[in-house]
Amino acid sequence: VALSILFGTPPARAETPTDRQMKAAFLYNFSQFVQWPRTSFENASSPIVIAVVKADDLGTHLDHLIEGKTVGGHPVVSRRVNDAAAARGAHVAYLDDARQLDVLRGNAVLTVGEGIEFTRSGGMIGFYVQDRKVRLAINRTAATRAGITISSQLLKLSTLVEGK
C-alpha cells in the first residue's frame, strides 16, 4: 500500500514492489527534506543531480520517478557513474561501498548507502530493513560536516547514528 502511494503508478505496476523501487523513491524524496549550501548551485535553475554508482534497476526506477520534477526551482536529474569520484559534482550520491566515502569527503554531497554500518563508517544516510519495511539511519554529524542540513521532519522518522 505504502509503495503504491509513493510511486503513484497504476496498480498493475505497483503489484511488483521491491526494496529497490522504494529506495529509488526515497532518493528523490531526500531532495525535499535536505538543504544544500547555496554554493552547491550555480544559479537558481541549476539541476539537483542524483548520482547512482553501479547503476542497476534502481537507476531505471529513479529515471521514471524524477521525470519532469523540480524541487525549489531546480530540476531533478540522475546520473549513472562508475565510481564515487565521478559523483563529486552531484548533490545526492548512492554508493554501493562504504570504502568509497573518503573520495567524497569535503564535498557537499548527501551520501546514501546500504545498512546502518554505512552511516557508522561516515555515510550520511543508510537504508536498512526492519519489520519488512525500509528504514533510515542518519549520521547527522557527517551531514553537518559537509554543510548539508537535514529536515527535522526527516530526522524524526529515522534512527540517528553516531559515526565517523
Binding site: 505497483a14 525535499q32 523540480t70 521532519q153
Partner: protein
C-alpha cells in the same frame, strides 16, 4: 366613518402601545443583527482554528507520508485528540487510498474520498470540514482532511444569545421606566385638564381652574383654557349682576305701579262717593226751586205779566233739566257700583223689546230696521238693556233729519272668543277727530237745541261694556252716519 380601534383607547394607553411597539421592533431588529454577527464571528473563529490545525498537521505529516511511515503519521494525527471539537482527520495518498487516520468516538461516518473538487472549508449542519492538499515543495504528496463540530461555536452563540437578551431586557425595562417617568409629566397634566373640563361642563362652575404647569404645548393649552375660564367667569358675573339689577328695577316698578294703582283707586272711590253725595244732595234744593217757582206762578196768577211768567217758566225748566242731569249722574254712578247679575241672555227678544219702546216715541217717521239674528250671551240683562236703549235711541235721534233712515244691528264672531256688535245709522254722523270724546261724561258734539240729551248715555255704554270685559269704539263721518261697536266675550263670564 368607522372609528379605528386605536381611537377608542385613552391617550395614555395609545402612547404606551406606540412606545412598546417601537421598542419591540427596534430591539428585535438589533437582536437579529447582533445574533447574526455573533454567529458569523463564532464560525469564523472555529474555521480559523481549523485552518491553523490543518497547516500544522500538514507540515508534520509530510515526511511520514514521503517516507511511508504510517506509524509516525498516525502519531501526528493522533495529537488532534487534545482538541474536543475535532471529530476526525485523515490523510489520503496520491493513489486515493487512506494512508493514515484519526477518529474520535463521536465520529461514526466512513472517511470520504477526497478530490480536487472539495478543497477548502465546507459546513454541513453541525460539522465543518477542511480539505487541503499536502505539498512538499512543488510535489503533491497527498490530501489532508479534518472534520470539526460547531458545538464550540454554538456554545458561544448560546452564551451570547443569553447575554444580549439580558442586556436588551434590561434596557427595555430602563426605557419603560424612563418612559413612564417622562410621559407622566405630560399625561398627568393632560388628564387633570380633561377632568377640569368635565367638571366645568357638568357643574357649570366657572371658578374651577386646571392646575398649571410647564411651558410646552400642554402648559400653553392649560393656561389658555384657564384664561378662557377667567373670561367666562367675568362675563358670567357681569350677566348675573345685570340680571339682579334688572330684577330689582322690575320689583321697584311693580311696587310703584301697585302703589299708584291703589292711590288711583282710592281717589276714584273718593270722587265717586263725593259726586254721588253731591248729586243726591242737589235733588232736594232743585225740587224746592221747581216747586216754589210753580207755587209763585200760581200765587201771582193774575198780577203776573207775561214777562214775569216767562222768567218763572224758564226757572222751572232749568231746575227740571238740572234734576234730569242729576238723575242721570246717579244712574251712571250706580252703573259703576252695583253688582253684576250675569245670566244667559238671548239678545234677540231683548233688542226687539227695546226697539218697540224706541219706535213708540216716533210720530209716523219712516225708519228701515235691519236687525240680524243675535246670539245669547252671559251678561247682566238690565244693563244690556241700557246699552241697547242708549244706542238705538241715539240712532233714531240722529237720523231725525234724514228722509229715509236706515238703522242696522249686526253681530259677528272675532278673535275666536269675542262677539263684535255693531249699531250703525245713516244720520248726522260726527267728525272722527272727536271720536274719543263721544264716550266721555257730559261730552256732546251737538248742541242741545239741535239734538236733546244730557251727554251721559254713551259714557254709560262704555262703562257697562267695560265691566263685562269688552271694548267700545265709534266710527263716523259728518252727515254720512255713524257706527258704534262693542265686544263681549263668547265664553261664560
Amino acid at each position: 366613518v368607522k372609528p379605528h380601534l386605536l381611537d377608542r383607547l385613552s391617550l395614555r394607553t395609545k402612547l404606551t402601545a406606540i412606545m412598546c411597539l417601537t421598542l419591540a421592533v427596534s430591539l428585535g431588529l438589533a437582536y437579529a443583527v447582533l445574533m447574526f454577527l455573533v454567529r458569523e464571528y463564532a464560525r469564523s473563529v472555529v474555521e480559523r482554528r481549523l485552518s491553523i490545525l490543518a497547516s500544522v498537521i500538514d507540515v508534520n505529516a509530510q515526511a511520514p507520508l514521503a517516507f511511508v511511515d504510517a506509524a509516525a503519521a498516525d502519531a501526528t494525527l493522533g495529537s488532534l485528540r487534545a482538541d474536543d471539537a475535532v471529530l476526525a482527520a485523515w490523510v489520503q495518498g496520491r493513489d486515493g487510498k487512506i494512508f493514515s487516520s484519526y477518529r474520535s468516538p463521536r465520529f461514526t461516518e466512513p472517511f470520504a474520498t477526497l478530490d480536487e473538487g472539495n478543497h477548502g472549508l465546507t459546513t454541513d449542519g453541525d460539522q465543518v470540514r477542511i480539505v487541503r492538499p499536502m505539498v512538499a515543495n512543488e510535489d503533491r504528496l497527498g490530501t489532508l482532511a479534518i472534520v470539526s463540530d460547531l458545538s464550540g461555536a454554538n456554545a458561544v452563540l448560546h452564551r451570547y444569545a443569553w447575554i444580549i437578551a439580558l442586556v436588551m431586557g434590561g434596557s427595555s425595562v430602563c426605557a419603560t421606566l424612563l418612559w413612564a417617568r417622562l410621559q407622566s409629566g405630560i399625561m398627568t397634566r393632560l388628564s387633570r385638564l380633561s377632568q377640569t373640563v368635565d367638571y366645568v361642563a357638568v357643574h357649570s362652575d366657572f371658578g374651577a381652574r386646571a392646575q398649571a404647569g410647564g411651558a410646552d404645548e400642554v402648559g400653553q393649552l392649560i393656561s389658555g383654557f384657564n384664561r378662557m375660564l377667567d373670561e367666562i367667569q367675568q362675563r358670567h358675573a357681569e350677566v348675573g349682576k345685570r340680571t339682579d339689577e334688572l330684577a330689582a328695577l322690575n320689583a321697584e316698578l311693580d311696587a310703584r305701579v301697585t302703589e299708584r294703582t291703589a292711590e288711583l283707586n282710592a281717589s276714584n272711590k273718593e270722587l265717586e262717593a263725593f259726586s254721588y253725595s253731591v248729586a243726591h244732595d242737589l235733588r232736594a234744593p232743585l225740587r224746592h226751586i221747581d216747586g216754589f217757582a210753580d207755587l209763585l206762578a200760581r200765587h201771582l196768577d193774575k198780577s203776573l205779566d207775561d214777562k214775569g211768567r216767562r222768567y218763572l217758566n224758564t226757572i222751572g225748566a232749568a231746575a227740571k233739566d238740572m234734576g234730569l242731569l242729576v238723575d242721570h249722574l246717579l244712574v251712571y254712578s250706580r252703573m259703576g257700583k252695583t253688582e253684576l247679575k250675569k245670566t244667559e241672555t238671548p239678545l234677540d227678544p231683548l233688542v226687539a223689546e227695546v226697539r218697540q219702546v224706541v219706535d213708540r216715541g216716533q210720530d209716523g217717521r219712516s225708519i228701515t230696521w235691519n236687525v240680524e239674528a243675535l246670539p245669547a250671551v252671559v251678561v247682566d240683562p238690565e244693563m244690556m238693556r241700557q246699552v241697547f236703549t242708549n244706542l238705538l235711541s241715539n240712532a233714531v235721534k240722529y237720523t231725525r233729519n234724514v228722509a229715509e233712515a236706515v238703522i242696522e244691528v249686526r253681530c259677528r264672531a272675532v278673535e275666536s272668543d269675542q262677539w263684535e256688535f255693531t249699531v250703525s245709522d245713516n244720520g248726522a254722523g260726527f267728525d272722527m277727530q272727536f271720536a274719543d270724546k263721544l264716550f266721555g261724561v257730559f261730552q256732546r258734539l251737538h248742541s242741545t237745541s239741535e239734538f236733546e240729551g244730557t251727554g251721559i248715555g254713551l259714557a254709560n255704554v262704555r262703562r257697562i261694556i267695560a265691566r263685562h270685559g269688552g271694548r267700545t269704539w265709534a266710527v263716523g263721518t259728518v252727515n254720512q252716519g255713524a257706527s258704534f261697536h262693542f265686544t263681549l266675550p263668547r265664553s261664560k263670564g
